[in-house]
């Protein structure tokens, strides 16, 4: 088996980001994808999928899907930042919904506000067409598992 610490290094080099998603069945199920931007930050995306709809009348994405997508983004961002495959343990997740998520691709960017020895604080912004028009913002605490 591949050394745990080498996993993200290998993903980073090969740019085979889907490999990281495959480790998380629920992220794979939601259709979460991510890539590294030029500045080294990660951009997460979740293509529209009929099964993620929460309101067929509008139609709109399920609020739980948006939050689940954002939680996955936060977890992967932390693992990426720490070069670790040990999953950080979520302590709390606080999400504010600012717009309804329309039936289209959704993006998320993460800001690791604090990466402490034991605790991390991550802010996540989810948006669709316009990066400046958030559909949801979240902040979350994680307990870190150091390799």
């Amino acid at each position: 088996m591949q050394d745990k610490n080498d996993f993200f290094r290998a993903v980073r080099e090969s740019k085979d980001f889907d490999k990281a998603i495959e480790m998380i069945p629920y992220a794979n199920f939601l259709g979460v994808r991510f890539s590294e931007r030029k500045d080294g930050s990660l951009l997460f995306r979740m293509p529209f999928d009929e099964k993620n709809v929460g309101n067929t009348a509008l139609p709109a994405l399920h609020g739980g899907v948006i939050a689940g997508f954002m939680e996955n983004a936060a977890v992967i961002s932390l693992m990426w930042a720490m070069d670790s495959t040990s999953t950080p343990k979520i302590i709390d997740f606080n999400v504010d919904y600012t717009l309804s998520g329309r039936a289209q691709e959704t993006y998320a960017r993460c800001d690791i506000v604090k990466l402490g020895r034991r605790i991390a604080n991550v802010q996540v912004t989810a948006y669709q067409d316009d990066p400046n028009k958030a559909i949801a913002v979240a902040r979350s605490h994680f307990k870190l598992v150091r390799d």
């Binding site: 998380i24 629920y26 199920f29 099964k51 709809v53 009348a57 509008l58 739980g64 939680e71």
Partner: protein, 160 residues
């Protein structure tokens, strides 16, 4: 002291539960994917559950359901408790949701969640709830949420 006037509850409609399951959850694609089931509903309160399924796992080495699934469950049970508190059918939208993860969920097991409306105002519904596996006294997560009332003109139109 004047007696408090009894108000109407949407849930007092005898067709509520059936219509909710058929017309509401039955029509929500993601709720179907989660396998969401109604356990009980009464005035101001609702209990829902998600049975264990492989695609809901967060970490295959542990076999524990992903924290994001608990977010979906809490959002759903909070929405359901909101309908259980409303006087009549109207569209609602989650304003915010906070989940505290109290302890790890047990592997290979489904999760149940109970929520109640503790305050209903003209525009906002205040909800709190817990998620558990063995019993409500041993919660794995707790939640507070607010829902906005009359959030859209497009009412789902299942319960009049």
């Amino acid at each position: 002291m004047s007696e408090k006037r009894e108000r109407t509850y949407l849930i007092d409609n005898p067709e509520f539960t059936g219509l909710m399951m058929e017309g509401f959850f039955g029509n929500i694609p993601h709720s179907k994917q989660l396998g969401l089931e109604m356990v009980s509903a009464e005035r101001n309160k609702a209990v829902l559950r998600i049975p264990f399924a492989e695609h809901l796992v967060g970490d295959p080495t542990s076999g524990i359901i992903h924290g994001g699934v608990i977010l979906s469950l809490m959002d759903s049970v909070g929405g359901m408790a909101t309908f259980c508190a409303l006087p009549k059918m109207e569209a609602i939208a989650t304003l915010d949701l906070r989940v505290d993860y109290l302890k790890p969920a047990m592997a290979g097991q489904g999760i149940e969640a109970a929520a109640e409306c503790y305050k209903l105002t003209n525009s906002v519904v205040f909800i709190r709830g817990v998620a558990y596996q063995t019993g409500i006294d041993d919660p794995i997560a707790s939640c507070v949420a607010t829902f906005m009332r009359a959030s859209s003109n497009k009412i789902q139109g299942v319960v009049k």
